[in-house]
């Protein structure tokens, strides 16, 4: 990553050329994007429920009813009925409508003065008011028509449109609503109320609301973000850079999905936000380091170099983690989630590249030349300083308390959050008083709700010609009718009962399934196949009860379906198979799927973060620790959702993922920064202080800016978007708390080595093979130990250790040569004790027994060495226990040998009486 930054800095023309080429390619493909929020897309591939549904609608036709609601006080007058007939005719002419069911199409078998009349309710428009009133009376008295086609007061009617079930053709479904609307507009003036309601209209409405929201709210949100970034970073570049990098990444991503033909869905709609979040965070870190360089008086080019050194690794790490995190969501079988994952991971793949290329070029030409505003914002600075101190105090001195409070909070929230409701309430998505909600309420006052599902009963051929079986179905239907939520049910027995009554002079005592064997076959002769084909198969082995209701909440529907299954199991003998199906049943399933998808997404991302972090920091503990600050905001998020009764739905289901995306970014920045400082300072307190001081401003300003940017979504008129915005804003704060309180607290308990350092470290052969300290260790282990120590450079001729100074550390020479000598204070004479080469150690006695140094060490050439103290060994013992054991063993051997040779020397001295 650092190389890309430096290369880009050196080749600005190339960078611009490459980015331009990318833009052109994206531009050419962006037009191919299609939007798809179809129900099909929300469903699980190969879901058995979907197969049942498809098989059911193949047998019984579509359950997708669009209701055209017509209300007028003078509805049943010849004039109005004539318009109603023309309206029904025009609707029949729309391609894609399987069947139009209106007062003009239904049959109405009835007893009339002792005669059986099998004609239609209304073949012709009545010529007189009396005739019209008679039709109205017949319709109201017909159990099948009442509430489905006519209001109990006779002032409202419905024209039911059975739309071809083309679940996967989103544009087609949206177009259907438009076609119907066009026909309604033609006749609108004739009726008090005239509107359509049903899935195509609902999807169409949702589509328009989302589009208008996105075009209105997204720019607003971006504006808020920009202003805040400029204000907090005190540099216009802070706003321009994210806009450029995230903007380009979004552009490329859109081009990409256009190119490979992925649709734009309710989920991918958040990808731009996601890219802006992560992009802005990266850019702010970059800018912050660049400004740091400028502040130190460096030139633009040098500052870029400084910046690349400080953030190069972090950018690469975050890029890898988030990329693989989001890519991992592709391993599931829900199209909409997979599409989201591919889109997001592509965006997260190009974003760091674009950033690494564009940022240096931008800074090279437009980067601020000096850090400004120091004086005017002294208050902010002092606030930042005080915050840094506070964080340090809390995380250092009240380490355990902070951890306990945070984890306790997270556990309580998560426990609470387990009860978070999963609910996709397609109507609750709109604000109170919105057109769609008004329509639904108006319809429901007069007629059955427009939501439907089938209760399908499957038996054997001819089963539903047997009176006893139909009686059972009738019992079940009566039970369904008794539920409050149920508006209307229609099934084959309704027709038989009606016929039986009318065959018996309309005597209401005969309104039941006839008991006589064979009577149903005979009655069938009076029914048109098209009347009953939606309710029973020609083989009479399969039957559905069409249930109409007004329940839009998926969780409510779920419990209704459960009750129904129980009821069916009680009423029907087990040889009948009972299935509940319909578009809304599948949608309800898909709400569950979204929730499960989210859990799986979180799990996968968590796993990937854990794996990558463990690998990068070469330590499972570090991997585990890096998870805690990421899961902390997620746990709190679910707690908040439960507390405020915000369900998991299409809007809110991605907030957790965004939370992890942002949290992991800052976590990585803080962890790598800390690690860098630690290698230099070998002091946790100091390292943390430096780290927090440097990271506080960028992290704080991006979090606040993004939080408020998301908060702008609260001005949406689509509830899931409002919920998404508010929750995302809240989650930014949680992530911030997690990153600044949990990461430092946890860091104080670990020491980090990155894979990157290990790979980048080259040790002399003498060190890896010749050092007694590393005896029996693998080169990788040796590198780890070296990286855990504090690196020291001693220029040629300088003293590394001075005799008499207090010492508690041990040294290992990595490069160069040094001389160990003692100085006789009185005589001023230097006696050389030994020469040190790479791999040699010295000062090991002081390590175990701190005290005045017994000799001097002077570098003969430039010396590179590491200094290890007892604290370091202690940390090593905690985090790399196996390594520590090996090191300790070798150290003991060395000390043992030292003891032995000392004893030797003493005994020899006793013999020779020679002074040391």
């Amino acid at each position: 990553m650092r190389r890309i930054i430096l290369w880009s800095q050196a080749h600005p023309v190339w960078v611009i050329a490459i980015l331009l080429a990318g833009s052109v390619a994206a531009f050419l493909n962006i037009g191919k994007i299609r939007i798809d929020n179809s129900i099909e897309n929300m469903m699980i591939d190969g879901d058995p429920a979907k197969i049942v549904y498809q098989e059911t609608i193949e047998k019984f036709g579509s359950d997708d009813i669009t209701v055209v609601f017509v209300k007028d006080p003078d509805l049943f007058t010849p004039d109005k009925l004539a318009v109603l007939r023309d309206l029904a005719y025009d609707l029949e002419d729309i391609e894609g409508i399987e069947k139009v069911e209106s007062l003009f199409s239904v049959s109405n078998i009835r007893n009339e003065d002792g005669f059986l009349n099998t004609s239609n309710l209304m073949d012709w428009v009545p010529e007189t008011i009396e005739e019209a009133t008679l039709v109205q009376t017949y319709a109201r008295e017909n159990d099948i028509l009442s509430q489905a086609l006519i209001a109990p007061d006779g002032k409202a009617t419905a024209i039911n449109l059975y739309i071809e079930p083309r679940l996967d053709e989103y544009e087609w479904i949206l177009g259907m609503a438009d076609k119907v609307e066009e026909v309604l507009n033609k006749h609108r003036e004739h009726f008090d109320t005239l509107f359509q309601i049903g899935n195509p209209y609902n999807l169409n409405y949702q589509d328009r609301v989302i589009k208008s929201d996105v075009s209105r709210i997204f720019p607003l949100s971006a504006l808020v973000l920009i202003i805040l970034l400029i204000a907090t970073m005190r540099s216009p570049s802070a706003a321009v850079l994210p806009l450029l990098t995230a903007g380009l990444s979004i552009f490329y991503t859109m081009g990409f999905i256009g190119f490979i033909g992925l649709p734009f869905t309710v989920l991918t709609i958040i990808v731009p936000s996601l890219l802006l979040v992560i992009g802005a965070t990266e850019d702010t870190h970059i800018l912050s380091e660049y400004l740091h360089g400028i502040k130190e008086g460096k030139t633009r080019d040098d500052s870029i170099d400084y910046m690349s050194n400080k953030v190069g690794t972090a950018i690469m790490l975050t890029a890898i983690t988030t990329f693989f995190g989001f890519l991992s969501i592709t391993i599931n079988n829900i199209s909409v989630l997979r599409q989201f994952a591919i889109t997001a991971s592509f965006g997260l793949f190009v974003n760091p590249i674009v950033t690494a290329m564009l940022a240096p070029v931008y800074l090279k030409y437009f980067g601020p030349r000096k850090a400004r505003g120091k004086k005017t914002t002294g208050m902010v600075d002092s606030l930042l300083d005080r915050l840094t101190v506070l964080i340090l105090n809390l995380t250092q001195d009240h380490n355990r308390t902070v951890l306990a409070v945070c984890l306790g909070l997270a556990i309580v929230a998560a426990g609470f959050g387990l009860q978070v409701e999963v609910d996709s309430n397609t109507i609750g998505f709109y604000k109170e008083g919105s057109t769609i909600r008004q329509r639904i309420e108006t319809l429901h006052q007069d007629l059955a709700g427009s939501v439907t599902f089938y209760l399908r009963v499957t038996g054997m051929s001819g089963d539903f010609l047997k009176p006893e079986n139909l009686a059972l179905v009738d019992d079940l239907q009566k039970q369904i009718d008794s539920y409050d939520w149920s508006d209307k049910t229609i099934s084959f027995p309704n027709y038989i009962k009606l016929l039986h009554r009318e065959m018996n002079e309309g005597n209401p005592d005969f309104y039941h399934v006839p008991e006589e064997e064979g009577s149903i076959d005979e009655y069938l002769l009076f029914l048109r196949p098209e009347d009953i084909e939606r309710y029973v198969t020609p083989e009479f082995d399969d039957l559905v009860i069409l249930v109409r209701h007004n329940v839009y909440s998926s969780s409510q529907l779920a419990s209704i379906l459960e009750d129904l299954e129980d009821a069916a199991a009680q009423v029907l003998p087990p040889r009948f198979q009972v299935q509940l199906t319909g578009q809304n049943v599948l949608l309800q399933n898909s709400a569950d799927v979204l929730a499960r998808g989210q859990v799986m997404g979180i799990f996968l991302i968590t796993l990937v973060i854990f794996l990558i972090m463990s690998l990068l920091f070469m330590n499972v503990t570090a991997g585990f620790y890096s998870l805690i600050p990421n899961l902390f905001p997620v746990a709190l998020l679910f707690g908040v959702m439960t507390l405020f009764k915000v369900p998991i739905n299409t809007g809110t289901c991605m907030v957790a993922v965004i939370a992890i995306g942002i949290a992991v970014d800052d976590t990585v920045h803080i962890m790598t920064r800390y690690h860098k400082e630690m290698r230099q300072l070998q002091d946790q307190k100091k390292s943390l202080a430096v780290c927090i001081n440097a990271e506080l401003l960028p992290v704080l300003s991006t979090s606040i800016s993004l939080g408020l940017g998301f908060a702008a979504f609260a001005f949406s008129s689509y509830v899931p978007i409002i919920q998404f915005g508010v929750l995302a804003a809240v989650v930014m704060i949680f992530a911030l708390v997690g990153d600044f309180f949990l990461v430092p607290t946890l860091l104080a308990r670990t020491q980090l080595i990155t894979l990157w350092d290990v790979v980048g470290l080259h040790l002399k052969k003498l060190v890896t093979t010749g050092s007694p300290l590393f005896e029996g260790m693998k080169p990788r282990e040796i590198k780890k130990i070296v990286l855990l120590g504090k690196m020291e450079d001693i220029p040629a001729g300088h003293l590394g250790v001075t005799q008499g100074d207090h010492g508690k550390t041990m040294f290992l020479i990595l490069e160069g040569k040094a001389t160990v000598f003692v100085t006789d204070e009185k005589r001023g004479r230097e006696t050389v004790l030994t020469q040190l080469k790479p791999g040699d150690i010295f000062g090991e006695v002081a390590l175990v027994n701190p005290g005045p140094r017994s000799a001097n060490i002077r570098a003969k050439t430039d010396v590179k060495c590491i200094e290890i103290d007892w604290d370091g060994l202690d940390r090593m013992r905690r985090f790399y226990p196996r390594l520590s054991v090996n090191l300790m063993t070798n150290l003991s051997k060395i000390l043992g040998n030292r003891l032995a040779s000392a004893a030797d020397i003493i005994s020899t001295a006793e013999v020779d009486r020679e002074p040391l």
């Binding site: 059986l116 004609s119 073949d123 006839p514 064979g518 002769l525 048109r528 098209e530």
Partner: protein, 265 residues
């Protein structure tokens, strides 16, 4: 100018052709048809095949007794013989000249006769694509027949007539706003009918096939097909046996005959 002469020359034979055959009015054609093909009594057994949009088939056997009592009085009895589960279901019709027809239905499981309202004649008969109206004998006074240009059907020259109910009342009583009939010029037998609904859209087409001279001037189709476009449904009928001029007792066409189940052999 040359073109106009050429056009004129082409038109002459066409005009003379149509003039030659338009000497008869539509009504005359229908009257001739009645004269040739109506019989005093008839006993037919038909096999009906109902085919739905999914190609599901259902077979029925029906026995039809028909008797012309003269003066516009007709009697008919349709009895289902197959499938076994509806065997004995019967419909008795008394066609009157002036008054509305009388119609009764007998359901063996209920063992009672049920009177059918005249308004029912627009509805389909027993799941077929024929309405009660289609099964009645044509009342020439109730329609205006307009002669259209003749056409050939299966190589046979036909008169083409458009039948429209005479008045608003008849129109409303009928299921059709218009019918188009193809009548063979040589034998005056209807070989094709197109039916149109009140919107003027075609509902169905009936084709009569395999014509045979049954008795005297009377011809009968051995097969017919009704292709219902709006219902996506077909009714195919084949004559299993046919007796024309057979002696039928008037008592057959009574409620008592049916209630005593003598129609079920």
């Amino acid at each position: 100018m040359k073109l106009r002469i050429a056009a004129f020359l082409v038109l002459i034979p066409c005009l003379s052709f149509s003039l030659a055959f338009s000497q008869m009015t539509g009504r005359q054609v229908m009257e001739e048809q009645k004269k040739r093909h109506d019989v005093k009594s008839e006993l037919t057994v038909d096999i009906m095949l109902l085919v739905d949009r999914n190609n599901k088939q259902e077979q029925r056997t029906m026995k039809t007794y028909h008797k012309d009592l003269g003066g516009g009085e007709n009697r008919s009895l349709v009895v289902f013989e197959e499938p076994a589960k509806v065997k004995g279901t019967a419909m008795l019709t008394w066609e009157h000249n002036e008054a509305d027809d009388d119609q009764w239905l007998y359901l063996p499981s209920q063992k009672k006769m049920r009177r059918i309202a005249a308004a029912s004649k627009k509805s389909y008969f027993m799941g077929t694509d024929l309405t009660y109206e289609d099964m009645e004998s044509e009342d020439i006074d109730e329609y205006n027949y307009t002669m259209l240009d003749p056409e050939a059907v299966d190589g046979q020259d036909c008169y083409v007539l458009e039948a429209v109910p005479v008045d608003q009342a008849k129109l409303r009583a009928s299921g059709y706003s218009k019918r188009k009939l193809w009548v063979r010029q040589d034998i005056f037998y209807t070989v094709k009918i197109e039916f149109f609904d009140q919107r003027g859209r075609q509902i169905k087409t009936q084709t009569n096939l395999e014509l045979e001279q049954a008795k005297g001037t009377a011809w009968r189709a051995k097969k017919s097909m009704v292709d219902n476009i709006t219902r996506k449904h077909k009714t195919l009928t084949a004559v299993k046996s046919q007796q024309i001029g057979v002696k039928l007792d008037d008592a057959i066409f009574t409620e008592r005959y049916i209630l005593s189940e003598r129609h079920i052999q």
